[in-house]
C-alpha cells in the first residue's frame, strides 16, 4: 500500500518521507550540538498542538557534559552519552494559573507527546538524532538539576549527531521489529470492520471484517 496519493504535493511527500525514515537514535558522536540546531528543535515544540493552548510545559536545555553525567545515573533510559538533553517539564505554577488539574488531566501528558514528536521530526529534518527517555527518577533528576518543587520533569529528549543509522531489518524480521500494520490496528466506521476498498462509505463497498480487531460488545 502506498503512503502517498497521486495528488500529494512534493512538500507533502517530503514530510511523509521524513516521518517514515525517522528512527530513535541512541548512540551519538562526540560532537556538540549547536545552539542554532537546538533552537530549531525547540521551535518545533512551540509549533506543536497544545490542549487549549495552555502551554504549561517548560524546556531545559543541557549541553554541559558534567551535568549530563550527573543526570545519567538517575536516567537508565539514557543508554549512551548524548551531547545534549532537553528536559520537558510541567510547570505547576503555569498549570495552576491555567486551572489545569495536572494529576487528573491527561492532556498535560498528551501535550508532552505532541511536543516530543514535533521535536524528533525537527531533529531528523536538520540531521540530528533523537531519543526520548521516560526511564528516569523524576525526584532524583529534579534534585540533580536543582528544580523547584513546582517544576516536574516529565521526559528527557536526547539529541546529538547520530553514530550510524540502525540496520534496516530484513523483510523476514520486519513484522517482529515493526509490529502490526496500521491496517491491523484500525477499524473503519465501527469495530470489526476493515477499511473500504475505495474512497467511499463502508456500506457502499461492503467492507470486510477485520480479524485483528477488538469485537464490538453488541
Amino acid at each position: 500500500m502506498s503512503d502517498v496519493t497521486a495528488t500529494t504535493s512534493a512538500e507533502g511527500r517530503a514530510a511523509l518521507a521524513l516521518m517514515r525514515r525517522r528512527r530513535v537514535r541512541r548512540q551519538f558522536l562526540d560532537e556538540p550540538v549547536s545552539v542554532d540546531a537546538i533552537r530549531q528543535v525547540l521551535q518545533a515544540a512551540r509549533w506543536a498542538s497544545s490542549a487549549g493552548n495552555r502551554r504549561i510545559h517548560r524546556f531545559l536545555v543541557v549541553r554541559d557534559p558534567v551535568t549530563i553525567a550527573r543526570v545519567k545515573p538517575f536516567a537508565p533510559g539514557i543508554l549512551a552519552s548524548p551531547p545534549a538533553l532537553v528536559i520537558l517539564s510541567t510547570d505547576l505554577e503555569l498549570a495552576a494559573a491555567a486551572n489545569v488539574q495536572v494529576e487528573r488531566d491527561m492532556n498535560s501528558w498528551i501535550d508532552v507527546g505532541t511536543a516530543l514528536m514535533s521535536m524528533m521530526l525537527a531533529a531528523e529534518a536538520i540531521g540530528l538524532g533523537s531519543c526520548p527517555a521516560t526511564s528516569f527518577s523524576r525526584g532524583a533528576v529534579a534534585r540533580v538539576l536543582d528544580f523547584p518543587p513546582t517544576l516536574v520533569p516529565e521526559l528527557l529528549l536526547q539529541l546529538g549527531h547520530p553514530v550510524a543509522k540502525p540496520p534496516t531489518p530484513r523483510r523476514t524480521e520486519a513484522r517482529r521489529v515493526t509490529g502490526p500494520t496500521i491496517a491491523a490496528l484500525t477499524d473503519w466506521e465501527r469495530l470489526g470492520q476493515l477499511e473500504p476498498a475505495e474512497d467511499a462509505s463502508s456500506e457502499s463497498t461492503g467492507a470486510q471484517p477485520n480479524p485483528s480487531t477488538i469485537q464490538p460488545t453488541r
Binding site: 545519567k72 545515573p73 537508565p76 543508554l79 528516569f136 527518577s137 531489518p169 524480521e173 517482529r176
Partner: protein
C-alpha cells in the same frame, strides 16, 4: 564507603561505585511503574557499568573476559527493543561465560 575502609587498588573506584549505586537504586524505583521485562535490561546494563568501572580501575587488566562481557553488553543490550529472543540468548551466553570464568577447574584437571 567509611573513611577508615582500606583503599583497594584493584577494586572499583569510588566514583564508579557511587554512580552504579545511583543507577541501581533508580532502576529499582523504575520497576514500580515500567514493564516488568525492562528489569532484564536494567540488570544487564548495570553489569556492563560494573565491568566498565573495573576496566577503568585496572582491576580487569588480567581478566580479558570482563572486557569481552562489557563489549557484548554495549553492543547487544538494545536488542530487547526489537529482538527479544536474541536479547535473551545473550543473557544465557553471558551467564555461562561468567560461570566458566569464575568456576575453578576441577581438582586434577589438566592445566
Amino acid at each position: 564507603m567509611s573513611p577508615e575502609a582500606p583503599q583497594n587498588p584493584a577494586g572499583l573506584g569510588q566514583g564508579d561505585a557511587l554512580e552504579l549505586l545511583a543507577y541501581l537504586v533508580t532502576a529499582a524505583e523504575l520497576c514500580t511503574r515500567e514493564p516488568l521485562h525492562y528489569a532484564m535490561v536494567r540488570l544487564i546494563d548495570a553489569a556492563g557499568r560494573l565491568a566498565a568501572g573495573l576496566e577503568r580501575s585496572g582491576a580487569a587488566a588480567d581478566l580479558p573476559w570482563i572486557t569481552q562481557l562489557h563489549i557484548r553488553i554495549e553492543r547487544e543490550k538494545e536488542l530487547l527493543m526489537w529482538d527479544r529472543p536474541a536479547f535473551e540468548r545473550m543473557l544465557h551466553e553471558l551467564a555461562a561465560l561468567v560461570a566458566d570464568e569464575l568456576t575453578p577447574p576441577p581438582t586434577g584437571a589438566a592445566a
